[in-house]
């Protein structure tokens, strides 16, 4: 179980980005984290995986516990060893490496052989096995996303953080990625899914959090979020029934959350 309590993050000593974020990711679940650009989703993930440091960010308050162990003061390698894996936004595969080398780097923290773990990844992503000797930088976007996910899985994390896995992918590939996330979860990995594509995220998640301006403004079971009026208005789109914004005054367009 991953528990975040009252987390506050400051960049460059002055910019307060997260203001008291709390959330819980129970073991074995998929939790979706939604929010507009700049809401602080990626910052939250960086705080979880210990990558704030290189962005000149700092946790100034609050705690993060992974399976009961505090990890808010640990560095990135320690956190990976503790069983938290992250797939960075924008895939970030090692472009000049082959597919297999990418996967081997993913298992850096594991002692002993990696072949078994890599074989498991190939089972999940057969296309990667076909392209194991190819240069990763020349794979398609969807394949690169799969490679980035596979690379994180080689470390066999207890919990996997996915930062916008649907970014820039065609709808059909997004559906494929969605199925794979569900499959990863079925195999026993807890997933924290950050997404702009709320429909996709909520359709597989158990629970959803909505972030805005560095705060959690709403948290409900995914099914309820899908039905929520405001969420439908702001994140899902309503097709025919959508309000026409032309007739609404500008100041009304932005939702102010009561929190």
């Amino acid at each position: 179980m991953l528990e975040v309590k009252n987390l506050e993050v400051v960049y460059n000593d002055v910019i307060l980005v997260l203001r008291g974020v709390s959330l819980t990711v129970p073991d074995g679940s998929i939790v979706a984290l939604l929010g507009a650009n700049g809401a602080g989703k990626t910052t939250l993930l960086r705080a979880l995986s210990g990558l704030l440091d290189i962005h000149d960010g700092e946790i100034t308050k609050g705690e993060i516990h992974l399976a009961g162990t505090p990890i808010h003061h640990a560095d990135a390698p320690k956190i990976v060893e503790a069983g938290l894996g992250q797939v960075l936004e924008g895939r970030r595969v090692f472009g000049e490496f082959t597919v297999e080398e990418n996967l081997r780097v993913g298992g850096h923290t594991r002692k002993g052989g990696l072949n078994e773990a890599i074989e498991e990844v190939y089972e999940l992503f057969p296309v990667l096995k076909e392209r194991r000797k190819n240069t990763a930088g020349y794979l398609s976007g969807g394949e690169q996303q799969m490679l980035a996910m596979g690379r994180a899985l080689v470390a066999q994390p207890k919990i996997l953080l996915l930062d916008e896995p649907s970014l820039g992918l065609a709808p059909r590939i997004v559906a494929q990625i969605k199925d794979i996330i569900a499959q990863i979860n079925e195999r026993g990995t807890t997933v924290l899914l950050v997404e702009q594509n709320a429909t996709m995220a909520l359709s597989i998640a158990d629970h959803g959090y909505v972030m805005e301006h560095g705060k959690i403004v709403m948290d409900k079971p995914a099914a309820e979020l899908l039905e929520d009026e405001d969420i439908r208005d702001f994140y899902l789109g309503r097709g025919e029934a959508a309000t026409s914004y032309r007739n609404i005054k500008h100041y009304k367009r932005r939702k102010r959350w009561l929190s």
Binding site: S49, G50, L51, I54, D56, A76, P77, I79, V80, E81, Q86, L88, R92, F94, G95, E96, F97, E101, R104, V105, G106, H108, T109, T135, G137, Y138, R151, A152, A155
Partner: protein, 298 residues
């Protein structure tokens, strides 16, 4: 014809020194994107470590070489830890300037140690030369070529198959992504400097063992590694080797043939020749012979 092959052989041996030094440059550049101007000082210090082990402690050549490599590696790590680690995240230009400072500081210390006398290293069968097909090569230079070949192969295998080698390459490509895989980036930087220091120590030891030994101005030899890495491509390990050898060859061939073939170029053109070659290659291949442009999908 014999003159030609003799020049090639000599150039190859001299090029091995440049190749070892160039490999050190590339190692640091790949890991940290810093061009380290501390390489000359590391070479001189490495040579002096070997000298101390060989002449003061009376240790045979090969163990002396091992001691020099070890001390060179430690020195590289100390430089990284004290001078460069505190500056992580600062512009690489600043870091490059710092390495110039490190170079000067280390050389002052080295000069203080060696004083006015050249410092050599005792080599087994030092004076012997091998003769074949009319060519002749000294025992030291043969050893140098052999050691260079073994080192290059070992490094290539390390970067291709070893977990740590792979992690170092990953760090060079993207520090954040490497961190997210659980790689200790700081350790990788230290390792890059250790390898560079060790390579410079091998070069320094052989400089001390062949020719006149290490003197106050021997460090200038190491500057030849600069055209070598630019010819080969800043970020390419095979490029560093090929570049180093090419610089050695061009220098030796010009020294032998230019006075007869093109006397109008003046005396000592051999010193300039590597830079002329660098200029020509940059005109045709701006990234160097083996330098990689970014892998990019179009």
């Amino acid at each position: 014809m014999t003159t030609f092959f003799q020049a090639v052989l000599d150039g190859f041996a001299q090029g091995s020194i440049y190749a070892l030094l160039a490999l050190g440059f590339v190692m640091i550049y790949k890991a940290t994107l810093v061009i380290s101007f501390a390489q000359p000082a590391l070479m001189v210090c490495g040579g002096l470590f070997a000298h101390h082990a060989s002449r003061v402690w009376d240790i045979p050549f090969w163990p002396s070489l091992a001691i020099a490599v070890l001390c060179g590696a430690v020195l590289g790590m100390v430089v990284e830890r004290l001078a460069l680690r505190p500056m992580v995240g600062k512009p690489v230009f600043t870091l490059a300037i710092i390495t110039i400072g490190v170079d000067i500081a280390l050389r002052v210390l080295a000069n203080r140690y060696m004083g006015a006398d050249p410092r050599g290293v005792t080599y087994p069968n030092g004076g012997r030369r091998y003769e074949f097909l009319g060519l002749s090569i000294s025992h030291q230079r043969l050893g140098l070529i052999a050691v260079t070949i073994v080192t290059v192969i070992a490094l290539a295998l390390f970067f291709r198959y070893a977990k740590t080698g792979l992690a170092m390459r990953a760090t060079a490509l993207s520090q954040e992504t490497a961190l997210a895989q659980g790689i200790r980036v700081g350790t990788m930087f230290a390792l890059a400097w250790a390898i560079a220091g060790g390579l410079a120590a091998i070069a320094g030891t052989f400089v001390a063992a062949t020719g006149a030994g290490i003197e106050q101005n021997t460090w200038i030899i190491a500057l030849k590694a600069l055209p070598a890495i630019i010819i080969g491509g800043l970020d390419s390990i095979p490029g560093a080797v090929v570049g180093g050898i090419l610089v050695g060859l061009i220098e030796s061939l010009t020294a032998v043939f230019q006075p007869d073939v093109a006397p109008w170029l003046g005396n000592n053109f051999a010193l300039v020749a590597p830079y002329a070659l660098m200029f020509l290659i940059l005109l045709v291949k701006p990234y160097g012979l083996f330098g990689t442009k970014e892998v990019e999908r179009v």
